[in-house]
């Protein structure tokens, strides 16, 4: 594959080899909804996977690249969903504009959280973010005149581009694809930009980064702002696509954890990680629904929980590095111990750029 070693080579191979890959990937992504046109069920799964891939990707920018283990990203997701929906339902403002307003509001909240939580280390940052999401949930539940409380809001179905509502699933697919690409491309950019290097330096050793003259405050707040804004955009799209929002879901701890889980499954601090994880989780979800055919809600969630425990314990680097390792080490090597081995060796690969 692409073995980039020096700066000079990087330029050339970046133009040559990946063009073919990117081209065929693009072609596949454009053709996919038309191939699935008659299997709306699967197209729906793909759209949801892209949507959650976008949210998880946004989380990954702060959590994976910045080492900021937020456990309350549902706050931003909910802000995105509620802002656009309320503006649309109450004032008739287009969800596209609402999406922008939601992103700005989330960015402001992200900035505030960044400012006030900067001194916190270890588990305190995570606990603070949980509390903030909970506070927003309580507000959304109790501010009934505006939000209709726990009853939730239904987005009225008036198809048209301005209303971000469509008869067919295909436009939704393309919107989801674009939203999903934003954090993906940003993650790629982090890998080769000064800002990204500074961010990852802070993640790996904050004191050393500070000693090198990196303005750690500005960088950490910066990534949190970007991450929250994109999460809100995903939230708006969720509201438009699912058309029902309720505080106990949108602001819930489960939504926050879902983003973390998907990222962990694919690979923390990897551009493709959250998307991969999202497809695994959403795919499994659809599969389970097919198999169980019922209202056994508990089974899905149990699967999430088990997956989270297993991934953190046995494949802490995520499935992408693990799969890569397996393919590289030859198809013959199927010893039972290789699970643990590859997990351990991945850790040594994890250089300053987090692998992948």
């Amino acid at each position: 594959m692409m073995n980039v070693t020096t700066e000079g080579n990087k330029r050339r191979s970046a133009i040559l080899t990946p063009t073919v890959g990117v081209g065929s990937a693009a072609l596949f992504l454009i053709a996919l909804p038309f191939l699935l046109q008659n299997q709306l069920y699967y197209l729906d799964t793909v759209i949801l996977a892209l949507l959650w891939g976008a949210a998880a990707g946004a989380w990954n920018l702060a959590g994976g690249y910045g080492g900021l283990l937020s456990l309350g990203h549902a706050a931003f997701f909910g802000i995105g969903a509620y802002t656009s929906t309320l503006l649309f339902v109450r004032l008739g403002i287009s969800p596209w504009l609402g999406m922008l307003v939601g992103a700005v509001l989330a960015a402001i909240l992200g900035w505030l959280i960044g400012i006030i939580t900067l001194r916190m280390k270890g588990p305190f940052f995570g606990l603070a973010t949980i509390a903030i999401a909970e506070v927003l949930m309580i507000v959304a539940v109790n501010w009934t005149e505006v939000t209709q409380g726990s009853q939730g809001i239904t987005v009225p179905y008036k198809p048209g581009f301005a209303n971000m509502a469509f008869d067919s699933k295909i436009p939704y697919y393309f919107i989801a694809l674009v939203i999903c690409l934003i954090p993906f491309l940003l993650a790629r950019w982090l890998k080769q930009s000064k800002f990204g290097y500074e961010l990852m330096a802070i993640r790996d050793n904050e004191a050393a980064a500070q000693a090198l003259g990196i303005h750690t405050v500005r960088v950490k707040v910066g990534i949190l702002v970007i991450s929250s804004a994109i999460t809100a955009v995903a939230g708006t799209f969720y509201a438009q696509y699912v058309t029902v929002i309720e505080p106990y879901h949108e602001f819930s701890f489960n939504v926050s954890i879902q983003m973390v889980l998907m990222t962990m499954i694919g690979g923390l601090g990897m551009a493709l990680g959250p998307v991969f994880g999202s497809f695994v989780v959403t795919g499994l979800d659809t599969l389970m629904r097919d198999l169980l055919q019922g209202t056994q809600g508990g089974v899905h969630a149990m699967m999430y929980g088990t997956l989270l425990v297993l991934v953190v314990l046995f494949v802490p680097e995520g499935m992408i590095p693990w799969l890569k390792e397996r393919f590289r080490s030859g198809k013959g090597g199927r010893s039972h111990g290789s699970v643990v081995d590859s997990g351990a060796s991945d850790q040594t690969f994890r250089g300053p750029d987090g692998g992948g």
Partner: protein, 291 residues
């Protein structure tokens, strides 16, 4: 009068919060684990208590003697088979693993016992005492007294026995404790088991106060996070004072601004403490956590 009433009710429920939080802060102090399973173990304990009562008509105050060892054993097993492996990695890993476990336990409870609210109607414990205008709910009073006794026993254990001293040593300086011949894994297993057993006590006591349902743990987890951070993560004394304080704050705010908003008050308090004094009111700076 109403203030005295609120103060007393707050202190009574605060005693139970303190009991739950003691386990949480003990586990954090010794292992540096933020235990997200804590609230769910309370839920499990309450279900155990409920089932003993319903199926075998064991009074929940007698059932306590069955629930506590059962929970302690569950805690030890959970530590041995899951938590132990996360501890080696990082804060993040241990947080995520306990979150995963919490999701599994909550949903297992949902599958096994459904989402119904279940409560014990314990005849002699549901009465309330009346002194003039003051009303005191007896199950909460009993819970408070038992919580006091258990806390006393815990402190005696931690200060008077070799094992207890080893636990305190491990929480002060793990490395030095190991050098002094403290077996870390044994101490960790024991501390985790004790932490969960304390939740077992609280669960047995609370089963005649609140109805139990699968997601009950979440709200208690949040409360005990607030308590523990308020008192200083890892500080046992802090957890007791924090528990009483949050109990009073909760009952007072529930009275004045309504019970749907009471959470808002202590969550905002929580955020303020995290910003202003993350080490808590009584906590020492913990090197791994506070830089």
């Amino acid at each position: 009068m109403i203030f005295l009433q609120l103060l007393i009710s707050g202190i009574l429920i605060g005693g139970v919060y303190a009991l739950i939080s003691l386990g949480l802060t003990l586990i954090f102090g010794v292992m540096r684990i933020v235990n997200f399973v804590h609230g769910d173990m309370l839920m499990v304990a309450m279900y155990f208590s409920y089932w003993f009562y319903t199926l075998y008509s064991v009074d929940n105050y007698i059932g306590l003697f069955l629930v506590v060892p059962a929970l302690g054993l569950l805690g030890a097993l959970m530590y041995r088979f899951v938590i132990r492996h996360a501890i080696r990695r990082s804060h993040e890993a241990s947080i995520l693993v306990t979150i995963g476990l919490s999701i599994v336990i909550q949903n297992a409870a949902l599958l096994l016992w459904s989402a119904d609210y279940r409560s014990i109607h314990n005849e002699w414990a549901t009465r309330s005492l009346q002194w003039g205008d003051l009303r005191i709910s007896s199950p909460l009073l009993i819970a408070f007294i038992v919580a006091l006794v258990v806390t006393g026993i815990l402190f005696a254990f931690l200060h008077r026995t070799y094992l207890g001293k080893a636990i305190r040593a491990a929480s002060m300086d793990r490395f030095a404790a190991v050098l002094m011949g403290v077996h870390p894994q044994r101490i960790f297993t024991l501390s985790f088991a004790i932490g969960i057993a304390l939740v077992g006590v609280a669960g047995a006591l609370l089963s005649s106060v609140f109805a139990v349902h699968p997601t009950l743990g979440t709200q208690f987890l949040l409360v005990s996070f607030v308590v523990v951070v308020l008192g200083g993560l890892g500080s046992l004394r802090g957890a007791i004072l924090g528990g009483l304080l949050i109990g009073v704050v909760e009952t007072t705010s529930a009275y004045f601004i309504g019970s749907s908003m009471k959470q808002l008050v202590y969550l905002l308090l929580f955020i303020v403490i995290l910003i202003v004094k993350p080490a808590g009111l009584f906590g020492k700076r913990i090197p791994e956590v506070n830089q």
